[in-house]
């Protein structure tokens, strides 16, 4: 008794590398406690942003209630959010809108 040998169809490939990478983002939210100069310093020293960019982000947090401070893979964004929490900033991680 024999059974037909089943071989995989080698022509059928899944291109994992071509799957679109879903970007995530870190959002920093306004709070009444953190000093403006402190928030600018954290954005500048942790993310390496210029004084101008760090200040613009701080002002966006202050006036609009929140700002997106980083975008990228989910794991990296979680590391950034933890760093923000280390500094006492209130940060969340979410999927970037498509």
């Amino acid at each position: 008794m024999s059974a037909p040998l089943i071989s995989p169809d080698l022509d059928e490939t899944t291109e994992l590398a071509a799957a679109p990478m879903e970007p995530w983002e870190v959002v920093v939210w306004n709070d009444p406690v953190n000093l403006m100069s402190y928030v600018v310093r954290v954005f500048r020293t942790y993310f390496g942003y210029s004084q101008e960019r760090a200040t613009a982000l701080m002002l966006a947090v202050h006036h609009e209630g929140h700002a997106i401070v980083a975008t990228g893979p989910r794991e990296t964004m979680e590391v950034h959010a933890q760093a923000m929490h280390d500094f006492g900033l209130w940060a969340t991680v979410r999927r970037a809108p498509q």
């Binding site: 406690v33 100069s37 402190y38 310093r41 979680e78 500094f87 969340t92 979410r94």
Partner: protein, 163 residues
């Protein structure tokens, strides 16, 4: 940054009180770590407020480490404040107001900034500060909160000048 230092002055009475606050903070983040305490919640916020499952998983894996880092920061700050070991009750006014210089190594600056910030976050959660400038001038803790803000601002300026 090696060899850089930030220097600032504190009155003896300020230094003794700050050291006491930092010691209380060490107990808070290094001791019971009550996950229901609003101050602990504020120090370890969830990055996924709309996803309870992801929140719980993240909190479980990171809260302990985060509080360990707060504890290490606080220990570095307390060490620098060790000179402020006077008994406040026994000080004359002149002794209490005499100022002493604190020297902070560049590597310890972030520990100081994070700890002073965390102290303000804890006080804010105890005082129910949820909006800008909600101050009850009769409560002395607001004066303490403002004083910490002033000291933090001075330290940030000094640190920014070192960069």
């Amino acid at each position: 940054m090696t060899g850089r230092r930030v220097r600032f002055r504190l009155a003896v009475i300020e230094g003794v009180h700050l050291r006491g606050l930092v010691e209380e903070f060490e107990d808070l983040v290094g001791g019971s770590r009550d996950a229901a305490d609003p101050a602990i919640v504020r120090l370890t916020p969830t990055p996924y407020p709309e996803d309870a499952e992801a929140s719980a998983a993240f909190a479980e894996s990171t809260r302990g480490d985060l509080l360990d880092r707060r504890s290490a920061d606080a220990t570095a700050v307390r060490s620098a404040l060790a000179v402020f070991d006077a008994d406040v009750e026994a000080l004359t006014e002149a002794e209490a107001l005499r100022s002493a210089e604190i020297v902070i190594a560049a590597d310890d600056i972030d520990s100081w900034l994070r700890t002073l910030t965390a102290l303000r976050l804890v006080l804010a959660s105890r005082l129910g500060i949820a909006e800008e400038d909600r101050h009850d001038t009769k409560d002395p803790r607001f004066a303490l909160y403002d004083w910490l803000g002033y000291r933090l601002e001075v330290l940030i300026q000094a640190a920014d000048e070192q960069d």
